[in-house]
């Protein structure tokens, strides 16, 4: 890495100054402030009162907080695990079957279709699904049409279903992301490898497990880490679809923090929640980085 045959060029630091200063001012200062607020009791007006780690101890005995973390575990399944598995399968199917037999035109058509939800604003996606899953929405219409009236539900208003519906919407939104990444990762594969394998009598499933999956390992890793981080930050979907309810059945930490900031004027407590998420996100991202660095070098 370090070649010091030439004297180090100087004078470039000035280019870093604006970006660095603005980031410090607009991002790092607020981050530090949030942490400071988390150690105080504050309603957003007047002076914050220092209370040390009381907010955090309160957090650990708060059923809503634990519910929000349990829900995050589900959210991560919906946003990370399921789309990754489904994406792997679909990518292999498109690349190693449809593409070969019916041409790349179909592959890019399908890829675009499945990627589309990724570019729609999350809030609008929520609006759309909220309407489809409403008591008089399309899902219940379908059930009625096919004579399964008894299965019709208030999908987002029933605590037994709401979280599963959120999960389904998340899978729908996220699927395009791993798919596109995996398809581009598969370009790395020498087509001969598949051909040799099929000449040797390997079945599609064998090619999938022995060639596709091992080769896509880096992409799988990236998808799992980035979507897990995205899962911890999930907010807009919940805000628009369920507002965390019914009860706390779809509450997530980001929404819980938002409620404390802007609805309950409990800024100190909200800050403790968001500081906890921030810490978790930084730990996951840091772990990913060091692991990747170790693999690269």
């Amino acid at each position: 890495m370090k070649t010091t045959r030439h004297p180090r060029p100087t004078g470039y630091a000035v280019f870093l100054a604006p970006g660095l200063l603005l980031s410090l001012l607009f991002l790092v200062v607020p981050l530090v402030m949030t942490f400071y607020y988390s150690l105080t009791q504050w309603q957003g007006v007047g002076e914050p009162t220092w209370i040390g780690f009381d907010n955090y101890t309160r957090l650990f005995s708060d059923a809503d907080f634990w519910a929000s973390f349990r829900n995050i575990a589900f959210v991560i399944v919906g946003i990370a695990v399921v789309p990754t598995l489904l994406g792997l399968f679909l990518a292999a199917l498109l690349f190693d079957y449809i593409g070969k037999k019916h041409g790349d035109g179909f592959v890019s058509l399908f890829r675009s279709g499945l990627y589309l939800p990724q570019v729609i604003p999350v809030a609008v996606t929520g609006l759309m699904w909220g309407w489809i899953l409403a008591p008089e929405g399309a899902v219940n219409s379908v059930l009625e049409k096919i004579g399964l009236n008894s299965l019709a539900q208030n999908w987002l208003g029933d605590p037994d279903f709401a979280l599963w519906m959120v999960l389904a919407v998340l899978v729908w939104m996220q699927l395009g992301y791993p798919l596109v990444l995996f398809l581009s990762g598969l370009q790395r594969i020498d087509p001969e490898l598949y051909e040799a394998a099929s000449l040797d009598g390997a079945t599609w499933w064998q090619r999938f497990t022995r060639i596709t999956v091992p080769i896509l390992r880096p992409e799988v890793y990236v998808v799992l880490v980035t979507t897990t981080i995205a899962g911890l930050k999930v907010f807009a979907q919940i805000f628009v679809l369920t507002g965390g309810g019914p009860g706390n059945s779809t509450l997530v930490p980001a929404y819980f923090a938002y409620q404390n900031f802007f609805e309950r004027a409990d800024v100190g407590y909200g800050s403790a929640i968001s500081s906890t998420i921030t810490l978790l996100v930084l730990i996951i991202a840091g772990t990913m980085l060091t692991r990747q660095a170790r693999e690269d070098g």
Binding site: R8, Y12, A13, V14, F15, L16, G19, L20, L22, S23, F26, L27, P30, L31, M33, T34, Y37, L90, I98, K100, K101, H102, F110, G113, L116, I120, P121, A123, L127, M128, W129, G130, W131, I132, E136, G137, A138, S141, V142, K145, V180, G185, E195, S198, P218, V223, I229, F235, A236, F239, A254, Y258, F261, F262, S274, T278, V281, L282, A285, L289
Partner: protein, 303 residues
């Protein structure tokens, strides 16, 4: 009929036959069979079902309330009428929202790309001291959850008079994205041909000249993908605009539509029309910039 891969195929199938002979089709797996059409059809059905929500929204945005009540959400509109969409457009102030979103997103793109370019120039080309810690810093900033920053920003923006204004918000989001751009561009710049820069500086080009005349033009492919991406991200932002852009004159498209939700719960066709209004701009954008979008995501995730 299903196997045309022999050289005796009729003329109409010659292209396929040639293609098959040209190489990649020695393996028997390339032959189309009834089974392969079944798989193709199955995937096509899956994709159609996947896109069904869009179709449902489209159908219901053009229905009158009476039509919806009698025929439900799955029928074709008895007659296609634009009045609901027009009405929602007016009620939401969609023209204004569209203008706000475009203005903000363009501003965000400009700020984010400029800052990222400068940062990455210093880190990737200038190889300044402590570049690795700086890079780690930007990477860390890149993953920070907005909810961890939003309250102090809300508070500080109120103090500074930036609250409920497009300027402060645009700068904030621009800076946020610049962290990602810095990370991406630095790795691109790290493999920039050094000879070019050395040659230019031999010829007496200063650092500004090198940046504008050599580095910028050569990194345009990456930059343009970044622009497309930042535009979409900024268009789709939710938490920051929810907190920072509260007045009707400043709201963005997704926010303007989603806060109308409460008023529409008893008015399904309007709801659907609102969703359609939110979907269309990005679908148009997607159709235009599809390649950049998919390419950009790849670049971002696996450098």
């Amino acid at each position: 009929m299903t196997t045309h891969t022999t050289s005796t195929a009729p003329p109409g199938h010659r292209r396929k036959a040639v293609k098959a002979e040209a190489g990649k089709a020695k393996a028997t797996g390339n032959r189309r069979s009834p089974g392969s059409y079944a798989v193709l059809a199955a995937v096509a059905v899956f994709v159609l079902a996947f896109l069904a929500p869009f179709i449902v929204i489209l159908l219901n945005s053009f229905k009158t309330s009476a039509d919806f009540r009698t025929n439900g959400s799955l029928s074709l509109p008895a007659q296609w009428n634009w009045s609901i969409i027009a009405e929602v457009w007016d009620r939401v102030g969609f023209t204004q929202k569209l203008f706000n979103s475009i203005q903000i997103s363009l501003g965000v793109v400009l700020i984010a790309v400029l800052l990222a370019l400068f940062n990455a120039y210093a880190i990737g080309i200038g190889r300044i001291r402590w570049r690795t810690p700086f890079l780690i810093f930007f990477l860390g900033v890149n993953v920070l959850p907005q909810e961890g920053l939003v309250y102090p920003i809300y508070y500080l923006f109120k103090e500074m008079g930036l609250y409920d204004g497009k300027l402060g918000y645009t700068i904030l989001v621009g800076i946020t994205y610049s962290a990602f751009g810095t990370y991406l561009l630095s790795s691109v710049f790290a493999s920039f041909p050094r000879e070019l820069i050395e040659a230019a500086s031999m010829d007496g080009a200063g650092r500004w000249t090198i940046l504008w005349r050599i580095v910028l033009p050569m990194s345009w492919p990456t930059l343009s993908v970044m622009c497309v991406f930042f535009f979409v991200w900024s268009w789709n932002e939710f938490l920051y605009p929810l907190v920072l852009l509260i007045s009707n004159d400043n709201q963005t498209v997704p926010l303007g539509l989603s806060v109308m939700q409460g008023q529409y719960t008893s008015d399904p066709t309007s709801m659907s029309a609102a969703a359609l209004l939110g979907i269309v701009p990005m679908v148009v954008f997607f159709l235009i910039f599809q390649r950049s979008l998919t390419r950009g995501m790849t670049a971002g995730a696996v450098k």
